[in-house]
């Protein structure tokens, strides 16, 4: 028989008994794990990545500051890319050529479609109409679940494009019978110059301008843009700066500032919030977000809770349970937001609009079809309450 000393016995015994227990305690396989991992996926400037020559679809930047040694700082979004000659911005669509900032996406959209306005989603703006929707390449975010990554996470020269300068866009929108032009899909902030020039022209021609965006923009260009916008849907991706940095590569505060600015400018806008399991499906976070909206933006801006589906790089999470979305809708309504919707869930009560005063059904939505519309002159047909938005 093997003989060991008492000390050896105690050490071995303690190791045997406590080892697994201690390790088990230390072993952090808990849901909180989702809060760990890389803290920031924000994009970086692409040094020496500008084309040698400008192309047909180049346009000098709308807002930028010139620095010494031919460097420039883009003033459009909070990324504030400081570019030396030959560098490319985080959004991939701006370059510094010989000390001047150029956008490379002026008149060359890579995606052009006519969509129902409900698809944006905009539920309180000209229902039953269509939006002539355009996008050019690039984005100032790095969302892991981007559904348009093939155009948002590439350079303008990497995609097939059509040539549509602002007057062409307005013409095409008119001939398609669309009531609006939507700047959408990728991230319109990345093609700001193209968007604002098109929007100015569209307004002159009586076509509405819709901005579908992540809202990551500086105040000055936003105010300029607001002057020609008719409606917007801005994505509030999470009410947590940490999640913004981790899943989207952005920051929360500038987006909140965008909401405040649009609200002060009197623009009609709707808010979308994608409920991502394990990240933005936290009830407490939803409550805080709704309180903030009510306090800062009032109760009238519609809020859409969207169902998450695994996409792009974020493909190992389950879809959001419908019950969670329904619960979030209740939380938001309890917080005082009057119009709260559930998105990406067909035939759900949360697709419809109910009067905040009399609770009667105002708009029944079956997908993009609207079989029931009980709003007349912007007012509830039953109790005559004014319903926020533009209805005709």
């Amino acid at each position: 028989m093997i003989k060991i000393s008492r000390r050896q016995f105690l050490i071995t015994g303690a190791g045997t008994l406590l080892g697994p227990g201690l390790l088990d305690m230390l072993c952090p396989f808990t849901p909180a794990l989702a809060q760990k991992a890389p803290k920031d996926i924000r994009g970086r400037i692409f040094t020496s990545a500008a084309p040698e020559e400008l192309w047909k679809w180049s346009h000098e930047g709308f807002l930028y500051e010139k620095l010494e040694r031919d460097r420039v700082v883009c003033g459009i979004c909070p990324n504030s890319c400081m570019l030396s000659p030959g560098d490319r911005s985080i959004c991939r669509s701006k370059v510094n050529i010989d000390g001047k900032l150029y956008s490379l996406t002026y008149g060359n959209p890579c995606s052009v479609n006519v969509d129902p306005i409900e698809k944006k989603p905009l539920f309180h703006f000209l229902p039953k109409t269509t939006a002539f929707s355009i996008a050019a390449a690039g984005c100032n975010f790095r969302c892991l679940n981007c559904q348009n990554w093939e155009i948002s996470q590439v350079r303008p020269q990497d995609v097939r494009t059509s040539e549509l300068f602002p007057p062409d866009v307005v013409r095409a929108a008119k001939s398609s019978g669309s009531a609006s032009i939507a700047y959408t899909y990728s991230e319109p902030i990345a093609f700001f110059e193209y968007m604002i020039d098109t929007a100015r022209l569209a307004r002159q021609q009586g076509i509405n301008n819709l901005w579908i965006s992540n809202g990551y923009i500086n105040t000055k260009p936003l105010l300029e843009l607001s002057g020609v916008l008719d409606a917007a849907n801005v994505n509030l991706k999470a009410f947590s700066d940490g999640i913004y940095r981790k899943l989207n590569g952005g920051r929360l505060e500038p987006v909140l500032n965008t909401f405040r600015t649009m609200h002060e400018a009197g623009l009609h806008f709707e808010i979308t919030n994608l409920v991502v399991p394990g990240y933005t499906d936290d009830q407490e976070m939803a409550e805080k977000m709704c309180s903030w909206i009510v306090e800062n933006l009032g109760p009238d801006h519609p809020l859409h809770f969207l169902r998450f589906f695994p996409r792009y790089k974020l493909d190992r999470l389950p879809p959001t349970p419908v019950e969670t979305l329904v619960k979030f809708r209740q939380i938001a309504m309890k917080a005082g937001i009057r119009y709260v919707y559930v998105g990406n869930v067909p035939n759900n009560e949360g697709n419809n609009t109910y009067c905040h005063n009399c609770s009667k059904l105002l708009v029944e939505r079956r997908g993009y079809h609207i079989p029931v519309l009980n709003i007349e002159d912007g007012r509830c047909r039953f109790c005559n309450t004014k319903i926020p938005g533009r209805w005709a």
Binding site: Q8, A34, N148
Partner: protein, 698 residues
């Protein structure tokens, strides 16, 4: 007569061999669950493992020798037994520390992660085999390196067989490792009875090692509960890991970490079913290849006589019904078989075949998107029948790789059907038949009084004439077709994958190529023969498995048997080589020539289709390749002099060759050049080996 120590060391080597193979296979499964499961990643993981093993073996050259060899061997064996479960736990734990939970991470992060997390164990397992030889030789200087090779192979074959035919059915990974490593610990304890080490240290090592394995069993289930939702079911099947999570009434089934089926997902169910079925007048018999949750109720709206649902993994369909992801409807029959093999052998024909397989990113799945399969599907349809399948969709822009994928599939399927419609829904749906196809789905459904939640409201806005036109106009008629023997889709899937992560494999292959050149510069000609043999063995194993699946379908036990046969032939080969080693260079050349003939036979099978060949022939080919590979080891070792440094280098050459064989054949030769050229590439490698041997011994 064997000394007691020799027997004890053999027991340790065999036990370690069993444990190493079981650990390797579970580690690979773990990586595939935590990262992507495409063929590139599978090859990458095997490459890392074998390369690290080869490097570990080479490191043994630096072993100074010691009078305490058995002590050291014993302690390292204990460490290995303890490391085995800890490695799995570490791999699970670090995944969400280093990467964003729920995300996929792409090629290089996967490469680095798999390389570094498996390196301690893989290096040590590579190191321990030559160490065992040195320890034997310290007592018995005449001990043959070939004997050690044979003993190690006995362990490997046993490990492979135990894993494939027992553990995978009855045990979870960390429980399987617990039992396997228990044998290792016992074997090491028995060996160390004669060691000089203090009994106390033996006990401590054994107990700590055992504790690590016990820890593995304890944390196995909690370690899977890393995220959102409650883990309500966990099961390991021979096809992979199945996990069911429940959250706020929603149920999701994960297969190897990917959510494959979720409740409340009407959109996918409606699209998968109605785009195809509404084309037929009366779908009497419907065949469903893999499912989408909720689709049976949708099919039932047409009142078919029978619905045959084919699901390869019985556990998947069991869970689908148990968690109400699928509903039992009248006429439903569940068939657990490879769908391709079923259709090839079925007498029954169908009015509709609806295929819902995932993206063709492995050879196994690619078989369902090829010219040959589309012919089989066509033959399985009645006149006027409809066949539908889908691949990943896009929202507003069709990326270049996706465009080529769709083009390749269109060009392939249009060889068999007169009419094809592509509908850009949540996925891109291909509706194929010989009669005209009506793309006004809502109208067709309305006429049949079939109600839907998603299609009726969203189809008109999402799948507009313009969007359908955009997709059709994007088809590139010159894109090659996808076939069994030239899987063009695999190449596109890889390209798209790299595009998604904005990386390129160029750096990896440049570094691997540089390593190969440096390695070739330092190895002897005999080692080059073994290197090429390792590569040929691994490459031909991949080829034979792939061809077998094409001809006979994916049948787990049979594919497991091929893998076992490939390992098992090494033993008689090594015995034979030991006897023939006196005829050294000629044996090497003859073995190489025989391998070339066998590879040429594979080329022949590929060229003529191979459908007349019996299954047994493939086992025979696998066995013959394995025997010939095993035969070369003792001969090459004999030629190198058989001393310790020679043994280390020959062991290593075999492993490094296998590493390169795995990655080159799987991720370059087959996807880019096709199966025939992959086999010809191996023939060229073996020809080079003959030239090398001849030049050195003329």
């Amino acid at each position: 007569m064997k000394s007691p120590n020799e027997k004890a060391i053999h027991r340790v080597v065999i036990a370690t061999g069993i444990s190493s193979i079981v650990t390797q296979l579970y580690t690979i499964r773990e990586f595939l669950t935590l990262f992507e499961g495409n063929e590139f990643i599978i090859a990458l993981i095997i490459f890392n493992w074998l390369l690290l093993g080869g490097i570990g073996t080479l490191l043994a050259r630096r072993y100074p020798g010691s009078n305490h060899g058995i002590d050291q061997l014993g302690k390292i064996t204990f460490v290995l037994a303890g490391l085995s479960p800890l490695q799995i736990i570490l791999i699970r734990y670090l995944r969400d520390i280093l990467f964003v939970h729920g995300s996929s991470v792409g090629f290089y992060p996967t490469f680095y992660y798999t390389f570094f997390t498996s390196s301690p164990y893989a290096l040590l397992i590579g190191f321990v085999l030559p160490l065992s030889l040195f320890v034997q030789r310290a007592e018995n200087p005449g001990y043959s390196g070939t004997t050690m090779y044979i003993v190690d192979n006995i362990g490997d074959v046993t490990g492979g067989a135990v894993f494939s035919f027992a553990f995978v059915y009855i045990l979870t990974p960390l429980k399987a490792l617990f039992f396997t490593n228990l044998i290792v610990i016992v074997a090491a304890c028995l060996m160390m009875r004669r060691a000089r080490a203090g009994r106390c240290s033996i006990v401590i090592f054994a107990v700590v090692s055992l504790a690590a394995n016990a820890l593995g069993v304890l944390v196995e289930r909690p370690s899977l509960s890393t995220g959102e939702g409650e883990l309500v079911h966990y099961e390991e099947t021979f096809f992979g890991r199945l996990v069911v999570k429940k959250s706020s009434g929603g149920v999701t089934l994960f297969e190897d970490g990917i959510p494959v089926s979720s409740s409340e997902n009407l959109i996918m169910a409606e699209e998968a079913v109605h785009y195809a079925l509404c084309q037929t007048d009366s779908p009497g018999d419907v065949l469903v290849i893999a499912s989408v949750s909720g689709m049976m109720e949708e099919i039932d709206k047409y009142g078919p006589d029978t619905i045959d649902y084919i699901q390869l993994d019985p556990a998947v369909s069991t869970l689908e019904f148990r968690f109400s992801l699928l509903k039992e409807v009248p006429g439903l029959r569940v068939i657990h078989q490879d769908a391709r093999a079923y259709l090839q052998g079925a007498d029954k024909t169908y009015d509709a075949i609806i295929m819902n397989l995932p993206e063709p990113e492995t050879f196994q799945v690619n078989r369902f998107f090829t010219d040959e399969f589309f012919a089989i599907a066509k033959a399985g349809l009645r006149p006027g029948g409809v066949f539908s399948f889908s691949i990943n969709g896009y929202d507003n822009y069709l990326g270049e790789s996706q465009r080529l994928k769709i083009s390749s599939l269109y060009n392939t399927v249009q060889r068999h059907f007169d009419h094809i419609s592509m509908l850009p829904g949540q996925k891109t749906f291909f509706i194929c038949r010989d009669s005209p196809i009506n793309e006004d789905i809502t109208d067709l459904l309305r006429k049949r009084n079939i109600t839907t939640s998603y299609i009726s409201g969203y189809f008109a806005g999402n799948i507009t004439r313009d969007r359908i036109g955009y997709l059709s106009d994007s088809i590139e008629s010159s894109t090659p077709v996808n076939s069994d023997t030239a899987p063009y889709m695999m190449r596109l899937v890889f390209a798209q994958w790299f595009e998604q992560y904005q990386t390129s494999p160029v750096w990896f292959f440049s570094c691997a190529g540089l390593f190969f050149i440096i390695y070739c510069f330092f190895i002897t000609k005999e080692e080059f023969v073994l290197f090429s043999t390792g590569a040929t063995l691994m490459g031909s194993e991949i080829l034979v498995i792939f061809i077998f699946q094409i001809l006979f379908g994916y049948i787990y036990l049979k594919v497991g048997m091929i893998v076992t046969v490939f390992l098992a032939g090494l033993l008689p080969g090594a015995f034979l080589g030991q006897r023939l080693r006196g005829m050294s260079p000629r044996v090497l050349i003859l073995a190489d020539l025989s391998l070339i003939i066998l590879l040429a036979f594979i080329v022949l099978v590929l060229e003529i289709g191979g459908h007349g060949f019996p299954e047994l022939l493939f086992y025979a080919v696998a066995f013959a390749i394995s025997v010939l590979s095993g035969l070369q080891f003792p001969v090459a070792l004999f030629l190198r002099g058989g001393d310790n440094p020679a043994a280390v280098r020959t062991f290593s050459a075999d492993l490094v060759g296998a590493a390169f064989g795995a990655v080159i054949v799987s991720s370059v030769l087959i996807p880019y050049l096709g199966l025939v050229w992959a086999a010809l590439g191996l023939i060229m490698l073996k020809t080079a080996s003959i030239i090398v041997v001849r030049s050195s011994h003329d």
